[in-house]
Point group: C2
Chain length 492, copies 2
């Protein structure tokens, strides 16, 4: 009887997970393939599917089945935990609201993209106001008297609150600001990359990089997107990148970053395929994989030495002859407008700013009409530069247009977790740099697969990291890594 209930929950969940994959595919299509004129219709299609998903997750039968179900083992217990989490969230949010959010955010994305291209904040504000209104409503429904922003964060990072994040940022900020000041005051600045790098050659190298980092092409593909992302779980995990002929690092490190996300999904134990735990457990843990692939591995001295050789082979001499200089160029620190292009030192300062702004928006302390001024003031204060155009300011990121409030802080959490994992990986693999220096990532990515990726959502987010590193995660390893690395590059 109890086992019947468990089997019924799993059969129900399997269909739901399959439909979630379909939803993910629609999102991928919208960003890569969809004709422009299809935006409104796609909004309705996604709303219809969201209605189905919401009805399944909030299915009244589930409550009874979850009560009756008994888990035969820890994996089964984790399955029930994930189904219960989805059910408990879904029953708090009216289906009409869930559908409305799906419809509005699907269409809002296109409006944001057009407004960004036109540098036209006013064209985006009514839509953003609508998204903010709907997400506040959802947050309030989920929070049931508690903090709306916390309730939204919990969707991306179960167990995390705005206060936890604020505390983490409180510990990180002074050391990051101090590091930044010392770097910018050092009088040193590595040579920037100069010249033009053919898009075709970039894409060929990007594909080779993806392969080197373990991307399984038989279960994925690489396309272009304005805002690179990874999408899907199990046997269909697609990545996207972008190409600028002046800045090949954008293409290479976007690709490596997305391969990190994809490797997590592709690396989950195949037994969990199309089950609730058959996917990354949280956005923070997800970002830990993309970040360690991109930064601690991809931007290391050892790996950039190998990449330098690859670039010289493929593009000829491009003005940076020494591997040490190339390492410094790849890791150049400078205040820039764009989060996704920022260096490791500035990156978390971008996130802290977005965290404060979006938390204020969700709490009603900041109005959409005042967002641009608030953004620009804060940016000037934190980065010492005035925003020169909206696409360099509040229009740069897609997130808010698609309703991702509470998502940004998981990027910093991912950096923190990546710092922890990197420290543990180095302790376990004394030969790491020798591997990286010849472009061999198999041992490092194998370690991450074994310690983190294969578990999917078997363990809670903090738990999977704690088990992997053998201690509680903290921001200290990340800060030490940054101080050491940039201290060396800038001779501090």
């Amino acid at each position: 009887m109890k086992n019947d209930a468990f089997a019924e929950v799993m059969a129900h969940a399997r269909q739901t997970v399959a439909l979630e994959q379909v939803m993910g595919r629609l999102g991928w299509d919208q960003e890569t393939m969809m004709p422009r004129g299809a935006a409104e219709q796609r909004g309705e299609e996604m709303a219809a599917l969201e209605g189905i998903l919401h009805a399944r997750r909030s299915d009244p039968r589930l409550a009874g089945l979850l009560d009756a179900a008994e888990a035969p083992d820890p994996a089964a217990a984790a399955q029930l935990r994930e189904v219960a989490r989805g059910h408990s969230r879904a029953v708090k949010v009216p289906g009409t609201l869930a559908q409305e959010i799906a419809r509005v955010t699907s269409v809002a994305q296109g409006i944001w993209a057009q407004a960004r291209a036109a540098e036209d904040v006013a064209a985006f504000l009514p839509t953003l106001a609508e998204v903010v209104r709907l997400k506040r409503e959802e947050g309030a429904a989920l929070a049931q008297g508690g903090d709306a922003y916390d309730a939204l964060v919990d969707d991306y990072e179960p167990g995390m609150t705005g206060a936890d994040i604020a505390a983490m940022f409180g510990a990180m900020r002074p050391r990051l600001v101090a590091l930044r000041e010392r770097i910018l005051g050092s009088g040193r600045q590595p040579k920037p990359l100069d010249g033009s790098f053919s898009a075709d050659s970039q894409m060929r190298l990007a594909r080779d990089l993806a392969g080197a980092f373990g991307y399984d092409w038989s279960r994925g593909r690489l396309d272009m997107a304005v805002h690179p992302f990874s999408s899907g779980s199990g046997h269909d995990v697609r990545i996207t990148t972008r190409v600028s002929e002046a800045d090949p690092f954008n293409c290479f490190y976007s690709t490596i970053h997305e391969v990190g996300h994809a490797a997590y999904e592709q690396g989950v134990d195949p037994d969990y395929l199309l089950t609730p735990i058959g996917k990354g457990v949280s956005m923070g843990v997800h970002e830990s994989q993309s970040r360690i692939y991109e930064n601690q591995l991809g931007r290391s001295r050892a790996f950039t030495g190998w990449l330098h050789g690859q670039m010289r082979e493929r593009f000829g001499e491009f003005g940076i002859a020494s591997a040490d200089d190339f390492f410094a160029t790849v890791n150049r620190v400078q205040p820039g407008f764009i989060r996704t292009e920022s260096d490791e030192v500035h990156y978390n300062l971008h996130i802290m700013m977005r965290f404060d702004l979006e938390r204020a928006l969700m709490r009603g302390d900041l109005q959409v009409a005042d967002l641009q001024a608030a953004w620009n003031d804060r940016f000037k204060a934190d980065f010492g530069v005035a925003v020169d155009r909206p696409s360099h300011g509040m229009l740069q990121d897609v997130h808010w247009s698609v309703g991702l409030f509470g998502y940004f802080p998981t990027y910093s959490l991912g950096n923190v977790y990546a710092g922890c994992l990197h420290k543990a990986l180095r302790a376990d693999q004394p030969g790491l740099d020798a591997d990286l220096a010849r472009g061999d990532l198999s041992a490092a990515t194998g370690w991450l697969r074994e310690k983190v990726q294969r578990h999917g959502a078997l363990y809670e987010p903090r738990q999977v990291i704690a088990q992997a590193i053998g201690t509680q995660p903290s921001e200290v390893p990340l800060l030490e890594y940054l101080e050491t690395k940039f201290g060396q590059i800038y001779g501090l």
Copy 2:
């Protein structure tokens, strides 16, 4: 009360139609973008969505609502007719069977493609046997004691039966066979196309052809597929084509053909968007649009004259200097193995053969194990040539692998309808050839949009054709068109 019921039916149907569009998008993705390793997972995803669609279509609430609903106008009556049709079919088929068919056919498609590439019939037979078993079961469930094949045909061509098709073929076959004999006995044979035509230039011209035939790029896109198809309704109607450097006509006429299908979907009255009648009414009427675009317009003497000039401009001299010779080359008649590459005279003979074979399979008069022998015997008898390899024989078409039994005859019905429409169009537009000769298709496609496309599924299939041509459709105009055209080319 009655109007409330109608509004409720329509609200219910709108979500169903939106989800059907999602299903169509998954099918498109599977054929154009999906990584190979994702086939099994995609099967489960499609089965999950089919389960949702089946549950919606067979929703017990619908029966009561349909009884209570009153249509305020003819369009509303057509909406109710379409919903009732879907409901009546769905309640006869168990949901588990519908899901199983979706899962098996999704996976079968990949198995077919691999078997075809490997020329390995044995590798395909177990899967085909499974598909045949499931479709027979579905046919029996739908037929409720009647003919299973008729019940399947009715899904693609409402109102049509196997007997109707057999009668139509009975009237066509002697005149087609006689025409074929006279052509092959004429001693004439137009020069075949020779040389190599760059894939890039082909695709550029294919895009221009799509535009000339009225394809709306803001609501569609063109990709490559092994088996060209059109997919989607309303504001997202995508087409596919293929390219062979030795045979540019394959690319050009596949593209024009799919544009015909897409123009039908894009041309439906926008008021019907995401409603049950907001799509082509049947596969036969659909094929009438693709065929008249491709053949009666695209392979006409006037239009090929224009195309000849375009090809000479883009590819230089390619060995056919006169427009009359080019017209003959485009319309070259010869017995070939491949249906999709066959000329207008042989085309319907291919279909007749498939009709007899698939009808026998569905009725249990032919076993899957005997299919290859039956195919090869029949082909030799009808075409005078022995099948030399499976990809030229029973493995050439995707249809049976995806469960499309009862679909093939709609191709011939489409040809017959195209013949009728062409006759009426010529009567209405004395200047047609002058337009075509300068590559201007706007009047012709405008006429088809006005007479057929804009109505979507407002009228029953035969009715929309009868209204367009002012009389009952018959195979006679098609046969007369073929006899005249090929009589002229072959000097009969």
